[in-house]
């Protein structure tokens, strides 16, 4: 690894002792001797096992739940349903006063995704718990389901989540998060070229080698100790306290090494039910996802569908970027409203574009609720933006590296969400990458830099047309005009 100390030399100290030196991981010895402790590397006397009854339907009403056969099974200690959960309806973002309770810890009237948990069984062996799960009878009325973000927004689409009343998250009265900067419509009219593309990303399963799980143990001081592989120890503790309506100081969460998280172990899906099981039985309880549960019910990276329309001049300057982003939240919000905000904030990418318009929707579908993964909300956006940049470069006949250098933001440029650019280094990265890939770069681009005024005059902050409020309709005029450009009817 080479550190390019000559770049931004006046901004850095040259006294690295650890950076650039290969050091063994602090846990390397533990990993190769199997001394690294994962939550499950302990057995506690009297431990019981929890298994969950899960919906086989994508969308259905629950008519009845019959647990009588399961309750009679030898080895079954307790069967838990929604009425046993002190605060069954919740949303994780309530911890920061965002959103409304929209998800049950255990379903009671409806299931909204395949794999949604309905009943929790606690038994003295895993096999007994599995046998009990097989004997729980749930009567369903299947409902029409919707799996596509745009289908979910059409009139007549099945309503996924009644708590929201529509299939989008409510951002302060609007069904989308927005960025408005300049006047894209006017810029499109003046651009030499306008291109429009659609990008689609699938939900991605993290598939950690270690499935989610935890062991809850009644402790000696009326507290519960929970050994868990959550990536978000304090967050999960607070979510659990909220669902179980206990003071957070009643819970003692102990993490360990996480056997792969990648963002998929933040949704706190095992601790609340497992700890409730320990509270109700006064015994240690273990709840571990099977691999099938991890794949089906464990949250994937939220898929995004992204439309990008760009106006570009013959000389390569992008003058307008319109992005419409649909984030597939699945059946419940969890962290996805935040992911959509990040996607919008990221727009239009690390480039200074004088006119930017972004609408980002957090959409509910009957899919497994989605979550973060390595660049929450932003990775998909970057994929779309960078593929688009290559297409634009080809369109105007420019080297894609030089095209990016031309449009890159510099320090002092105002970003689309009106923050000033600071500490930019894109141009230097692009030049270094070009050198490594033996891509020739013209001298005029080699002399550009990310510093203020580094090779391009910063654009004057453009005027943004004011939104004209319309009675009874939460949609600004600009949105309507763009809707007609795309030739679609919107709700």
């Amino acid at each position: 690894m080479r550190i390019r100390k000559e770049l931004f030399a006046d901004e850095r100290r040259d006294d690295f002792r650890e950076v650039g030196v290969g050091r063994q991981r602090a846990d390397a010895l533990g990993h190769v001797t199997a001394r690294s402790q994962y939550y499950d590397d302990r057995r506690i006397a009297g431990m019981l096992h929890m298994k969950l009854v899960r919906s086989p339907h994508h969308h259905a009403r629950i008519r009845a739940i019959d647990m009588s056969a399961a309750e009679r099974l030898p080895g079954v200690k307790r069967i838990i349903t929604a009425k046993d959960v002190p605060n069954n309806l919740y949303t994780v973002l309530a911890l920061i006063n965002v959103g409304i309770p929209d998800e049950p810890a255990l379903a009671f009237d409806k299931v909204r995704y395949k794999g949604e948990p309905i009943v929790a069984v606690v038994a003295d062996s895993e096999r007994a718990a599995c046998e009990a799960v097989a004997r729980v009878r749930v009567d369903y009325d299947p409902l029409a389901a919707v799996f596509d973000v745009e289908d979910a927004l059409k009139s007549g689409a099945p309503l996924v989540n009644e708590y929201h009343g529509r299939n989008t998250f409510n951002y302060e009265g609007r069904d989308h998060q927005r960025v408005r900067f300049g006047d894209v419509e006017r810029a499109f009219a003046q651009a030499d070229h306008v291109i429009e593309e659609r990008y689609q990303m699938s939900p991605i399963e993290h598939a950690p080698t270690e499935p989610q799980g935890c062991i809850a143990v009644p402790a000696d001081d009326h507290r519960i100790t929970c050994y868990t592989n959550t990536q978000a120890l304090f967050f999960s503790l607070d979510v659990t306290a909220m669902i179980l309506k206990v003071s957070p100081d009643k819970l003692h969460f102990i993490g360990g090494t996480v056997g792969g998280g990648f963002g998929g172990k933040v949704d706190t899906l095992v601790e609340p039910l497992c700890i409730l099981g320990a509270m109700l039985t006064n015994r240690p309880v273990r709840l571990a996802f099977s691999r099938e549960e991890e794949m089906q019910a464990g949250p994937p990276r939220g898929a995004e569908r992204i439309f990008i329309k760009d106006g570009v001049m013959k000389d390569g300057r992008i003058v307008a970027r319109y992005m419409r982003i649909y984030e597939d939240s699945g059946a419940y919000s969890r962290l996805s409203p935040y992911g959509a905000v990040k996607a919008a904030a990221h727009c239009p990418g690390p480039y200074s574009i004088p006119n930017v318009f972004c609408d980002a929707y957090c959409v509910y579908t009957n899919r497994t609720p989605s979550t973060a993964m390595r660049g929450f909300g932003v990775t998909a956006s970057d994929f779309a933006i960078e593929v688009q940049m290559d297409k634009l470069a080809r369109l105007v006949g420019m080297n894609p590296f030089e095209f990016r250098i031309l449009n890159a933001y510099r320090d002092g440029d105002t970003k689309a969400h009106r923050k000033k650019t600071e500490g930019a280094a894109l141009i230097e990265c692009v030049l270094a990458a070009a050198d490594l890939a033996n891509v020739p770069i013209a001298d005029s681009y080699r002399t550009m830099s990310s510093r203020q005024g580094g090779g391009a005059a910063p654009g004057a902050m453009p005027a943004t047309p004011p939104a004209r409020p319309q009675p009874g309709v939460q949609r600004p005029a600009a949105g309507d005009r763009l809707a007609s450009i795309f030739g679609e009817r919107r709700r």
Partner: protein, 159 residues
Amino acid sequence: MQTPVQFRLNDEERAEFVDSGARLLGLLRDKVGVTSPKSGCQQGTCGCCTVLIDGAPYLSCLVLAETCAGKSIETVEGLAKGTAYHPLQLAFMEHFAAQCGYCTSGMLMAAKALLDRNANPTRADVIDAICGNVCRCTGYQPIIEAILAAAKRGVARTA
């Protein structure tokens, strides 16, 4: 019903009473207290539970414990002799072959099975040896390098 099973574990004689139908993975982790083999899938597809039985790799999540009578079982706990670590352990540390570490036990035993019978494996041999072990963190390259490096170092122990 419980069955008495006698076997060798990392060169020590053991005798355990085994529940009918119990798998070797559960016996090792829950009864014996050897937690190096991990439960990753319970399907035989991830390799995290790999142990050696009479020198050959097996998926302990699929092996019935009672079929191990008279067998010699090796796990990670038996690799080091005191602080004399096995060349594979040293190589994994030096080559960043473990990140979250969950696949590491299975990888080490699969690699040991290879090096015990083939002291000079090719890269293709190494890939075949670990093709039943899933890693979600490293991208496999550091693991392959570590195994090849350990082979070069030889299976003689460092003092």
